[in-house]
């Protein structure tokens, strides 16, 4: 059971997965185990603190960061099914402790072993899914933080390329922000609406029936707007499809067995 060659991975599920989409957490566990990792899900995890940090609330973001650092320092790797929360730990925690050398060292050490899930599977574990299928035409949305803070671009496409029956149709605006931006979308709903509509127009142009991405924030934003506009494109986290859970209800769809 305790194979010493297996790295000890702490899964930071992120608050959105934890609260809104547990199956992404389960998919992540499944994928990480298939990639030869020992996975732990610390119960003391809550949120990475990004809403506070991006609202300029330094004291609270620092308190939250310290707690995450303490909860996850013991692991060989910290894996996050989100480029946004991953980027928070990897890029912004060290920034926060610029003037606190003790915590800076801890934050930097944690940052060094923090990875976004999909890139961890390919780049660190050299993993490729086998025996997984998904019948559909999907387009992939690059979340801003996955792309620009975590350098995730080719990795999800490589993984998804191994899924039988799945075609990826690239959108011209795959790299353009969807207008979520955390609290931005509720503070400036008009601008956010115009951005998410532009994103959706681009998705529709690809002819895809499925939208995949690696960040729940973007996925909830885009899928919520797709549903409001009555467009039949289903949104899922890429990990769900990779873990063979692509037949579960898509984001915002009623669970099976309910009306």
């Amino acid at each position: 059971m305790n194979d010493p060659t297996q790295p000890n991975v702490g899964l930071f599920a992120t608050c959105l997965v934890d609260l809104m989409r547990p199956q992404v957490g389960f998919a992540a566990v499944k994928l990480l185990e298939a990639a030869g990792c020992r996975v732990s899900v610390p119960e003391a995890q809550t949120c990475c603190g990004q809403p506070a940090y991006n609202s300029g609330d330094e004291p609270d973001s620092i308190a939250i960061a310290k707690q995450v650092i303490e909860t996850f320092s013991e692991f060989d790797y910290i894996v996050v099914p989100s480029g946004s929360c991953g980027g928070m730990i990897k890029r912004h925690y060290p920034e926060m402790f610029e003037h606190d050398s003790g915590w800076l060292a801890k934050a930097t050490a944690l940052a060094a072993k923090t990875h976004e899930l999909l890139s961890f599977l390919t780049d660190v574990r050299n993993y490729s899914p086998t025996g997984v299928s998904y019948a559909g035409r999907a387009t992939y949305h690059d979340s801003c933080s996955s792309l620009r803070e975590m350098q995730v671009k080719a990795q999800p496409r490589k993984l998804l390329g191994a899924v039988a029956g799945l075609t990826i149709a690239e959108g011209n605006e795959a790299e353009t922000c969807c207008g979520f931006g955390g609290l931005f979308c509720v503070k400036y709903p008009d601008i956010s609406e115009s951005m998410v509509d532009a994103k959706i127009d681009d998705i529709v142009k690809t002819g895809a029936d499925t939208l995949l991405a690696g960040d729940m924030g973007c996925l909830m934003n885009i899928s919520g707007r797709l549903q409001r506009r009555g467009i039949a494109v289903r949104a899922r986290h890429a990990a769900e499809v990779l873990a063979g859970m692509g037949d579960l209800p898509a984001i915002g769809e009623p669970a099976k067995g309910r009306d």
């Binding site: 389960f26 996975v39 609202s55 707690q67 931005f184």
Partner: protein
């Protein structure tokens, strides 16, 4: 100009509903970014040049006092004069003094953002001097009495028809039935009108893309050649520039020129690049008799050493505007002052105050596209966040927002309580949202105004994982094929 930045939300809403503006922004969104990407790809050392350009400006900012003194000495040595101005009012007064001394009644102007910053046109008019914008875009917005909506393409918000209507309305001495719906015709009409103005001007006022300490020169970059007629024909040339425009050497200037046009319009070089050095010398055939540099601080020295220090590297290329999804949604006027886009959202609060421009750093998703294209590698998102930190520290987040954030953070840092309450909340929401989504939820108005909200799935992931459906570890169950 009177800032309308406090009305950012209303400005944005109006801009989103403005059809011609949206069409113009759509064109911009397609054109500039594509051309920049192509230009960057054509030049293998482009990324290295960006590093060099950044380093040059960093070095200047570290030694600004020394380079400014060197620069002034060179200008004086060439027979020119430097007027040090701390505020916009000082700069306006200096310009007026020079104009008065020259007995000027007409001033031609090439595009200058500093000119906009100090609102020199209105001031000259109030003092009985006619300012004439000679950049086509600036000329158009001067006729319309509008501020620029983009730092390098001031009239980008207008359609061809709107420009034609403006010409018909303002050029009343011409045949009202003339055909001017074609770009060429508009250009010819503007050119004909401007030609006379160029020849009749008493003073030429230009900006400066850079000031070179080594030679005392100012660099002018245009695509129309209007700057050359502006400084070369009148008897007096006034350069108006802010003091961070300085670079040490000609070599440094060319390094920055190599990234400037590529980042701005995707051109390898702008059509006209001019180095002006001092007044006409005895052996020169033409050129101005007087050469003045009005060197403006207007808040810059306060930025040195602050968290906005790096903003002073900006070369006003406009790349961050061209690539910004917010700018592309609402255009430049929504920002409510002379600058816009990500650089404006960082700079404007520095220049006119956070109280007035407080919306701007918040109206961003921090998507990071701007930083990825900025030739000077300015960390714009980080600085937008710095403004939010200042606002939060000053209690400007708003009481409700601040209290809500505080309560939430209190919960997030107490994992046991968090788990307990989230479990309850998720279960309750899961019951309510049995259709899988909400069309409306209390307190979620900003979200549900635009989109549905996916309902949570019964219990939190962490709780499900640890309890498992039969009380054992879900990791094992998943391996055995269990599905949530």
């Amino acid at each position: 100009m009177q800032p309308t930045s406090p009305n950012f939300k209303a400005n944005a809403k109006a801009a989103l509903a403005d059809r011609p503006l949206q069409a113009a922004l759509g064109k911009l969104a397609q054109g500039f970014p594509m051309r920049r990407a192509e230009a960057a790809a054509r030049l293998p050392e482009f990324e290295r040049l960006r590093d060099q350009a950044r380093d040059i400006k960093d070095h200047v900012l570290e030694n600004l006092d020394r380079y400014l003194e060197l620069y002034e000495a060179k200008v004086v040595e060439q027979g020119g004069q430097v007027h040090w101005c701390e505020t916009a009012a000082d700069a306006r007064a200096a310009i007026l003094r020079i104009c008065r001394k020259a007995g000027a009644i007409s001033v031609t102007k090439s595009k200058s953002m500093i000119g906009e910053e100090i609102a020199i046109n209105d001031f000259l008019e109030q003092n009985g001097i006619e300012p004439v914008e000679t950049d086509l875009g600036e000329y158009i917005i001067q006729l319309r009495r509008e501020p620029p909506s983009h730092i390098i393409a001031p009239a980008i918000h207008l359609s061809l028809d709107q420009v034609a209507d403006t010409f018909l309305e303002k050029h009343t001495d011409l045949d009202p039935n003339r055909a001017i719906r074609e770009p060429r015709a508009l250009l010819e009409e503007a050119r004909t009108r401007l030609r006379g103005k160029f020849l009749g001007a008493d003073v030429g006022l230009t900006g400066a893309n850079m000031l070179i300490a080594e030679t005392g020169s100012n660099v002018l970059v245009t695509n129309e050649g209007n700057a050359d007629l502006t400084y070369g024909l009148p008897k007096v040339h006034i350069v108006i520039a802010s003091l961070e425009k300085i670079v040490p050497t000609l070599e440094d200037a060319t390094t920055i020129l190599r990234v400037l046009a590529r980042s701005a319009t995707g051109q390898d070089m702008s059509v006209y690049t001019t180095f002006c050095t001092g007044p006409k010398r005895p052996q020169d055939l033409d050129g101005p008799e007087e050469y003045h540099v009005v060197l403006l601080d207007n808040g810059r020295t306060k930025m040195i050493g602050s968290e906005f220090h790096e903003m002073l590297r900006c070369i006003r290329c406009g790349a961050c505007l061209n690539h910004c999804p917010i700018y592309k949604s609402v255009g430049g006027h929504a920002y409510g002052w002379v600058y816009s886009g990500p650089m404006g959202a960082v700079l404007i609060p520095n220049l006119i105050g956070m109280e007035t421009a407080g919306h701007l750093p918040n109206a961003s998703t921090l998507c990071g596209k701007c930083e990825s294209v900025c030739p000077m590698r300015i960390p714009l998102p980080r600085m937008l966040r710095r403004w939010r930190q200042r606002q939060f520290a000053a209690g400007r987040g708003g009481f409700v927002a601040k209290t809500a954030l505080g309560l939430w953070a209190g919960l997030v840092t107490r994992p046991k309580l968090y788990r307990f309450l989230m479990g309850l909340g998720v279960a309750a929401l899961g019951q309510l949202g049995s259709k899988g989504k909400f069309k409306w939820l209390p307190l979620a108005g900003g979200w549900t105004q635009v989109r549905d909200l996916a309902a949570p799935a019964g219990d939190t992931f962490v709780a499900q994982y640890h309890k498992g459906p039969r009380g054992d570890q879900s990791g094992d169950l998943i391996r055995k094929g269990w599905r949530p």
